[in-house]
Each structure stands twice: as C-alpha cells, then as structure tokens.
Amino acid sequence: SAVISQKPSRDICQRGTSLTIQCQVDSQVTMMFWYRQQPGQSLTLIATANQGSEATYESGFVIDKFPISRPNLTFSTLTVSNMSPEDSSIYLCSVIRGRIADTQYFGPGTRLTVL
C-alpha cells in the first residue's frame, strides 16, 4: 500500500470561492486520480492526474471547474472553482503504486461544505 495524505481534511467555504486540495504520497506512484463522493452517494471519478501534462477528465467534469496539477510523481492538487452548494462533497485522491494493473489506494478524503 501507500501512505497518502490530503490537506485540508475538511473545510467550509463560501459560494463563489475556490479551494485547492492537496494530495501527497510517501513515495513515487504510477498514477493518481481524483474522485468525488457526494453526500450519501458512491464515488465518481473526476479525472486522472497526469504527471507533466493536462489531466484526463471524465464525462461531466471540466478543467475550468476542476483544474488539476501533478508536478511530480508524489504530489497532485485539485481545485474546486467558483463553488456552489452542489459542490459539497468528499473529495478523495487515489494512487496506483506499481504496475498499471495494481490496486488503487485512497487518501483520507477532504470533506468540503459550501454555504
């Protein structure tokens, strides 16, 4: 497995503002992902964070709303832009550490509440 940390662990934000969530892994990983878990719901993949290039977004998610960076093999950020109450969710990063067919391990999540 991998030791994954996320900052902040939770935040309460005002409508119209932006929040950047950080994901840090204790060692180099092959792939990094960002998921959203809306209240009482399952997880939905937002995007794959690609090191040194633009993230690959899933249908329904766009870069202007969820810009992602991955400057190296152990760190990624997700920004939730121009927030509305509908963005209130848990945001989780996950990683694949070794070969591509390996298991995804998840960070502890960031609980975001938008007022």
Partner: protein, 116 residues
C-alpha cells in the same frame, strides 16, 4: 457502460456471526478486476479484497472471502466471525483495463451494522 449494483442498502449482523453482501455487475468484457472497499465513519477507503476475472479461485483475506460467479456476473463478499470494527459502508467496484484505463466504477454501497 459498465454498471455495478449493490441491492442491499443496509445489512446488519450479530457479532461473531457471518454476513454476505451482494454485488452484481454488467460488462461484455472477459478480463477485468473486481474489488471490495470498506469505508468506516472516518471516510478512509480501505481495500478489503480483490479478484481478477481470469482466476477461477475465489479470493480470500483472513475473515473475508468472495463468491465470484463470472457467468452470473456476481461478486458477493462474505464476512465471517464479524467484529464490531467491521461496521462500515462497503463498496463493490469494477475495473476494465482496456486501453490502459484504470477507472473504478463503484456500486452505491451497503451499510453494515454489527450488533454486540
């Protein structure tokens, strides 16, 4: 598109007893991966068990085992000797490795309560 269905929103079990959580999925692929993740109130997603579709043998991890029925597209999780710490949301997940995609498709989850 692949879908994952967990038909039991909630389940309960007595401590030390056995419980089975159901999961079915829809795919036209023959090679894929299936997972069970546990999410306690701390919200950390923890891998419970993993199954490769090409393996006929059911995966086992200590008190956790699966019943993988490929033809029926069924992937149930059995928890033996249930413990209070097993109380959590359990999510079944599918991954189709075609084209290098590592996307996990999750079911809606089953909330497991363990009664002392």
């Amino acid at each position: 598109a692949q879908t994952v269905t967990q038909s039991q929103p909630e389940m309960s079990v007595q401590e030390a007893e056995t419980v089975t959580l159901s999961c079915t999925y829809d795919t036209s692929e023959s090679d894929y991966y299936l997972f069970w993740y546990k999410q306690p109130p701390s919200r950390q997603m923890i891998l419970v068990i993993r199954q490769e579709a090409y393996k006929q043998q059911n995966a086992t991890e200590n008190r956790f085992s699966v019943n993988f029925q490929k033809a029926a597209k069924s992937f149930s999780l059995k928890i033996s000797d249930s413990q209070l710490g097993d109380a959590a949301m359990y999510f079944c997940a599918y991954r189709d490795p075609r084209g290098g995609s590592e996307k996990l498709v999750f079911g809606k989850g089953t909330k497991l309560t363990v009664n002392p």
